[in-house]
C-alpha cells in the first residue's frame, strides 16, 4: 500500500527549523522520557574508516508517545576540507513508530544534529547553571561554539561572553558572531583559565585530546557543560576536575563512560555515580541546589535527541520539501 515520504534538503530544513525555546523543550522532553525507562536506545553503531580518514555513526532511539523514531547517520570524513567540502554530513530518516514505514528523509548534512546538540546544552544550563549568568565562557571556535552560545542565551541571558580557541583569528570571528546573535559583549581570552575565572557557565566545544580544564580552574558558582568529547581519545576536562565536582550529570551514563569525560574520570579513579540529565529534568535527581556548587554536565549526544528533533521538525515543515509516493 503506497504511502507518502517527505524529502527535505538542508536548505529547506534551515528555513523551517531554528534554535528556539520550543525546540529546547522538545529535546528536554526526550531526556525526560529517557529517564522514564521506557525508551529503547541501543548502543551507537560506529564504523571507523582509518583508510579514508573517516568514520560513520548511526544513532537511534524509540521514545514511547512519539509517533515516529529517527535513524540518524553521521559520517565524518576529515580529508573533506582539502576538497572544499565540510567534514560532517549525513541525514536522518524518520520512521513510523507504529508501522516502521519511512515517513521522511531529512537530508540535513548534520544541521539537525547541530541543533539538537546545542539544545541539550540549553537543557543542561537550565537545570544546572546558576540562576543568573553574567558571563558565558566558551572553549572552541566552531559551529557548536556559536550555537551553544545562542542556546545558553535563550535560558540564561548573559550580558558578557568570553571565548578561547587555539587560533586567535578564528576565536575573534567566533566572538563577533556570538556578539551579533546574542547582543552580548564578547571578548577573546588568552587561555582557558581566564575563561573559567570570568564565567558562571562554561561550554566546552573542542575536539581536545588533552584536557583543557584542570581542578585549580574551578570556583564556586560554576557550571561546565562539556560537549566536545564524543569518542574515546577525546577529553576536555581532567579526571581530577571531574572528580572535584559537587555534582556531575551525564546525558547517558553508559555512553559517557565509553566516549565522554566520564571515561577519563573513571581512568583517573573516579568512582562516583553521576545522575542522568533526564533524571535531573524529571526531578528524580537534584539539579543545582545552591549558588555555590560546582557542577558538570557531560554530553556525548544521544539517539533520543535525534528522535526528539526529527519528531519536532515534522511539525514545523508546512508544505516544504518533496513528497514521493512509495
Amino acid at each position: 500500500m503506497a504511502h507518502d515520504i517527505r524529502i527535505l534538503t538542508e536548505s529547506e530544513l534551515r528555513g523551517a527549523v531554528t534554535l528556539d525555546l520550543p525546540l529546547i523543550d522538545a529535546i528536554e522532553a526526550g531526556f525526560a522520557a529517557l529517564a522514564g525507562g521506557a525508551v529503547v536506545m541501543p548502543p551507537v553503531l560506529s564504523m571507523a574508516l582509518p583508510q579514508v580518514h573517516g568514520e560513520v555513526d548511526v544513532k537511534t532511539a524509540y521514545v514511547p508517545g512519539l509517533e515516529g523514531f529517527a535513524i540518524k547517520v553521521s559520517p565524518g570524513f576529515f580529508d573533506n576540507p582539502k576538497r572544499g567540502l565540510p567534514s560532517l554530513n549525513g541525514l536522518m530518516v524518520l520512521l513510523s513508530a507504529t508501522t516502521g514505514q519511512v515517513r521522511a528523509v531529512f537530508l540535513d548534512n548534520g544541521y539537525l544534529t547541530d541543533l539538537r546538540t546545542a539544545a541539550a546544552g540549553a537543557v543542561a544550563a537550565r537545570h544546572l547553571a546558576p540562576p543568573v549568568v553574567e558571563t558565558l565562557g566558551i572553549l572552541g571556535t566552531g559551529v557548536q561554539a556559536r550555537l551553544q552560545a545562542r542556546a545558553a542565551h535563550l535560558v540564561r541571558p548573559f550580558a558578557n561572553c568570553i571565548l578561547w580557541g587555539r587560533d586567535f583569528a578564528k576565536a575573534s570571528r567566533c566572538a563577533e558572531d556570538i556578539a551579533k546573535s546574542t547582543g552580548a559583549i564578547c571578548r577573546v581570552a588568552a587561555n582557558p583559565a581566564e575563561v573559567l575565572a570570568a564565567s558562571q557557565l562554561v561550554v566546552t566545544t573542542t575536539p581536545a585530546t588533552v584536557p583543557l580544564i584542570t581542578p585549580e580552574m574551578l570556583h564556586p558558582g560554576l557550571h561546565i557543560t562539556a560537549m566536545g568529547s564524543d569518542q574515546a581519545g577525546k577529553a576536555e576536562v581532567a579526571g581530577a576536575a571531574f572528580a572535584a565536582m559537587d555534582m556531575a550529570v551525564c546525558d547517558d551514563v553508559a555512553q559517557c563512560e565509553a566516549f565522554g569525560e566520564l571515561r577519563g574520570a573513571r581512568a583517573a579513579g573516579y568512582a562516583g555515580q553521576p545522575a542522568s540529565l533526564g533524571q535531573v529534568v524529571t526531578g528524580t535527581a537534584p539539579g543545582r541546589i545552591s549558588d555555590g556548587q560546582v557542577t558538570l554536565c557531560d554530553l556525548t549526544g544521544t539517539g533520543v535527541q535525534d528522535t526528539a528533533i526529527a519528531s519536532f521538525v515534522i511539525g514545523c515543515l508546512g508544505d516544504a520539501g518533496t513528497v514521493i509516493r512509495n
Copy 2:
C-alpha cells in the same frame, strides 16, 4: 557545496534491478572482499521494540574498491498485516566512500534486501551444491522461497522442485509460482523429510524456532543453504545435523554464532570452525570437493551484501528516480 542525491522508489527499483547473474556476481565479489580482511563491517545495530511488536536492524559495511557504502535500515513490524501492510519495509542509503556524502536513497521497502539475500543463496549453491542438481528442495512458502528458487536455477538449472510449508495452500501457490519462473516441475511434499530425501540442493527459508532438519534426513550428495534464521531463537537445522556435516560454511562466522544455525550447533556442543563463504569464493577454503559430501551454508545476511547491491544498483538506474540538489 551542493551535490545531487538520487531518490528511488520501490517501483523504480523493481523496474531497474532484477535477480540475475550479474547481480549474483556482484554479491559474490562482496563476499570475496569480506574474506580479504580489508572490509570494515561493524556488528548489526539491532533494536527490539516488543511494545509495538517490532524490530529494526541497521547494517553497513565498507568494502575497499567500491565507490560507495550502504547503510541499510530494516524495520519489521509484525502487526502490520492486520493493517493491510507488509511486515517488512525500510530503505538503503548509499554514501560516498571518499567523502561520506549521501549519493542515493533507495526507498526499496526491503526489495533490495530480498534480492541480495537470494543472491547469497546462489553464491552458496555455486560453490557448495553438487555440480548437477536434478531436484531443488525448498522449505518455506514466502518471498524468499520463490526468490531462492529463481536464484538457485541461475546457477544449478534443476528440472524438479519439491517444496514444503506448514500451510498446504500457500505451499501449492508457491510451487506454482516457482514452476512459472523456472520451468521446473514442482510439487508439494508432506514433510521436510520428503523434501530432503528427493533433493540434491535444499534451501530453508522459514522462521522456524524448532529445527526442521534432523541428522537422519541427511544423505550423501546433499547441500543445504539455511537462510531463515537471522536472530537468536530461530533454528532450521538441528545442532546434531549441523555437527554431522562434512563441511559447514557461514556468511559471517561471528554473526552465525549469534543469530544463525551455528548458534544452536554451538549450544549442542559443536566445536568445529566453519569457513566463511568468502573464503570459499576466493579459494582460501575448499568448496565442495567430492560428489558425496554433505554440506551446509548458514546465511544470516551481512552488511557487505547491502553495500554490494547498493553499489551494483547505482549502475543499473539509467535516468530513473528523482534527483534532489542538496
